[in-house]
């Protein structure tokens, strides 16, 4: 038979357990709108009385049966959480790509009259004018001005692309530029999150599993894992005590309570210099402006992966890192730069060749009524070193000789295909200008069989099309992420209706039970009277 003391103790214990159970319900309701909160449920079990044998009265009282909290269950689905994190990484990468493409579209936006399309058009208009008045200094000056505008537009596009890349990854040389870049902010935030996760792991190691405290820590853990996934794609290995080991690619970055892989970032130049043997920067470097490596702070910052850029392909970091790298099949700042460089080199090649070819004649600046043979170095467009090679959108410029007082006469307007029939007095000959005008529609091998203008139009279209395509992918990905999040919330979220139904059930049952006590009390009164 249950003793009075034992019964009282059992009842007091039950009240206490119920309080804790209801505390969990309260916790659920209070956190129903808390981001990342997983609903919890108390599982009750009968207390084990096996240990309370012998004459130890205190032990008997303590272990007198009754009810106990077996565990506080947390409603969660590991598969969904992992899937959500993967999708989140992809969404953030697409978001970053979309940002880059929007910036690129702005750079290439030629709606205003200052665009490259307009500059090319005016350049050819000036050529057309020169075709009519090859000996006119006005027509020649006009042509030089439009050519100058063309190079300026190419230069400014290049500067804008540089700024875009610098904003994302730094300029590849200066540490200060890197520290002001987007990727640096992301890298610092990611390292902070890794440290935070290691701290949560440490707390989980010393917290009993299946308790409210442990479950709250697990919620925090999952929230941080989701945040990390926004930066980079990770693999998560969960242990029985709730701690997680995290890897980027195959490299472990979190092991238990320790950060074993911290990200380190450096400029491309600094990275190249630190290699053994050093890489010549920028000549032999075709990578990104910023290089992320993984170091182990537990082993005196030993370098685990010297260049982890190729491992980081998803998330904001992945999107940023590869936003300026050409050749990965994506349209980005790198491919646009490559195309503009090709366009600049092709423009220079075409017009330099025509201006200096055999049979091309310019006007003698000392006697503007006479033609003179165009010299081989009478280039129209040059690069940084003043030659016609190594020309990019960033360094293309007009040959300095054209910008002098007599420079306008260096344009080779006349052309004689028969050296025997050259008329040096024919200053009105504009056959070479005709050939130059012909390039407007001629297909260039270097431009994939397109003309100058159509190549640029195609580039603008490619960026617009990539933007539209990435926007569609992003929208789809957002739907996927939302759908997975809804599923997670269905599993982990607090359903107030469910809690209310339970509450009404309890209240009805308790009210009915209270009435029953009145009946029982009168019966017991009779019994007590009888026993007297």
């Amino acid at each position: 038979m249950v003793s009075l003391l034992s019964s009282l103790n059992m009842t007091a214990n039950t009240l206490s357990i119920n309080e804790q159970a209801i505390g969990v319900v309260s916790h659920n309701v209070s956190n129903m709108n808390t981001e990342g909160y997983s609903k919890q449920k108390v599982n009750l079990a009968t207390r084990n009385i096996g240990g309370a044998i012998g004459n130890n009265v205190t032990a008997q009282i303590r272990a007198n049966g009754g009810v106990m909290i077996a565990n506080v269950m947390r409603y969660t689905d590991s598969y969904l959480n992992n899937y959500y994190r993967d999708q989140l990484s992809t969404q953030n990468k697409l978001d970053q790509q979309l940002d880059t493409l929007k910036d690129l579209a702005t750079i290439l936006d030629d709606l205003e009259s200052e665009g490259l399309d307009s500059a090319l058009s005016e350049f050819y208009e000036a050529l057309n004018n020169l075709n009519e008045y090859p000996a006119s200094s006005t027509a020649r000056t006009n042509f030089i001005e439009t050519a100058k505008t063309l190079t300026s537009v190419l230069n400014s596009k290049s500067i804008e692309l540089d700024e875009l890349t610098t904003k994302a990854l730094g300029d590849g040389i200066n540490q200060e530029s890197l520290e002001n870049s987007k990727i640096y902010v992301q890298y610092e935030a990611l390292n902070d999150k890794l440290t935070e996760l290691a701290d949560i792991n440490r707390a989980l190691q010393v917290t009993q599993t299946g308790t409210l405290e442990a479950n709250n820590l697990l919620d925090k853990r999952d929230t941080i894992l989701n945040e990390i996934s926004q930066f980079v794609d990770i693999s998560v290995d969960e242990k029985d005590n709730g701690t997680v080991n995290v890897s980027i690619g195959t490299t472990e970055v979190i092991k238990g309570s320790k950060v074993v892989g911290q990200l380190n970032i450096q400029t491309a130049k600094s990275y190249c210099e630190s290699q053994n043997p050093p890489i010549t920067y920028p000549d032999d470097w075709d990578g990104e402006n910023a290089v992320i490596s993984i170091i182990n702070p537990q082993e005196n910052n030993k370098v685990v992966v010297s260049n982890a850029n190729s491992m980081i392909t998803e998330g904001t970091l992945g999107g940023l890192l590869h936003s300026a790298t050409a050749g990965n099949g994506e349209t980005n700042a790198g491919t646009v730069r490559e195309s503009l460089d090709t366009l600049a080199q092709t423009i220079a090649d075409i017009f330099n060749e025509l201006n200096t070819r055999e049979g091309a004649y310019c006007i003698d600046p000392n006697d503007t009524g006479k033609l003179i043979d165009s010299a081989d170095d009478n280039l129209l467009f040059v690069g940084a070193d003043g030659t016609g090679t190594g020309i990019t959108a960033g360094n293309i410029k007009l040959n300095d000789a054209l910008l002098t007082e007599d420079g306008i006469w260096n344009i080779s307007c006349a052309y004689f295909d028969d050296p025997a029939n050259v008329d040096l007095n024919a200053v009105g000959n504009s056959q070479n200008v005709v050939a130059m005008l012909g390039t407007r529609d001629s297909k260039q091998d270097a431009l994939n069989g397109m003309s100058l203008e159509s190549f640029y139009t195609s580039l603008v279209g490619k960026v617009a099309s990539a933007g539209s395509s990435i926007q569609t992918l992003y929208d789809t990905q957002t739907s996927v992420v939302d759908s997975v999040l809804t599923k997670i919330k269905n599993t982990s979220g607090v359903d107030l209706n469910e809690e209310l139904v339970d509450l009404v059930k309890y209240q009805t049952a308790y009210s009915a039970a209270a009435q029953v006590f009145n009946t029982c009390n009168s019966c017991l009164d009779v019994l007590m009277t009888l026993g007297g």
Binding site: A12, N18, S26, S30, V67, L503, Q507, T508, A513, T519
Partner: protein
């Protein structure tokens, strides 16, 4: 003195003792249900208790009728035994045995009933607190102010039940 009436009395007393024993089992069951907050099963056990109570009430009435028939009024076990000592001593041991059984079952039933009352009070308080919590969850989370500044941060206090216990 008709001995048959004593046999009837003892038979009814046995039935009452049996019914109270079953009531004790139901109280035990109810206690477990209250401890585990199984609202669905609470109604079930309460129905069984009400049925048993009505059975006990009928037995009480039968016993009271016999008591009036024998002694002229409704009396307790001590009076039955005293009366038997004077008029039918052969029934005294049987009646004393029933008295002991009744006296033993009284504290057990009382204790269980009191425990259940406390558990139920606790449950009602908790369900009220839950309702309060849910209402707070629906209500805008604001703060109260008076002339001296903020007075209430809307903290939900679930632990006043400690004082109740």
């Amino acid at each position: 003195m008709d001995k048959k009436i004593f046999y009837n009395l003892i038979e009814i007393l046995d039935k009452e003792i049996d019914a109270y024993s079953r009531l004790k089992d139901l109280f035990e069951e109810k206690k477990e249900i209250l401890k585990q907050s199984k609202a669905d099963e609470l109604g079930n056990v309460d129905n069984r208790i009400i049925t048993l109570n009505s059975e006990i009430t009928k037995l009480n009435k039968s016993r009271e009728k016999i008591s009036i028939d024998i002694i002229g009024e409704s009396v307790n076990m001590s009076r039955f035994i005293e009366y038997a000592k004077e008029n039918a001593p052969e029934f005294v041991p049987a009646l004393e045995e029933r008295k002991v059984k009744i006296c033993n079952i009284i504290p057990e039933l009382t204790l269980l009933n009191n425990q259940n009352v406390e558990l139920l009070k606790h449950g009602i308080i908790i369900s009220n607190k839950m309702l309060e919590t849910i209402i707070n969850a629906f209500a805008p989370q604001g703060c109260n102010y008076n002339g001296a500044g903020k007075t209430d941060t809307h903290d939900i206090d679930m632990w006043t039940i400690n004082e109740e216990v």
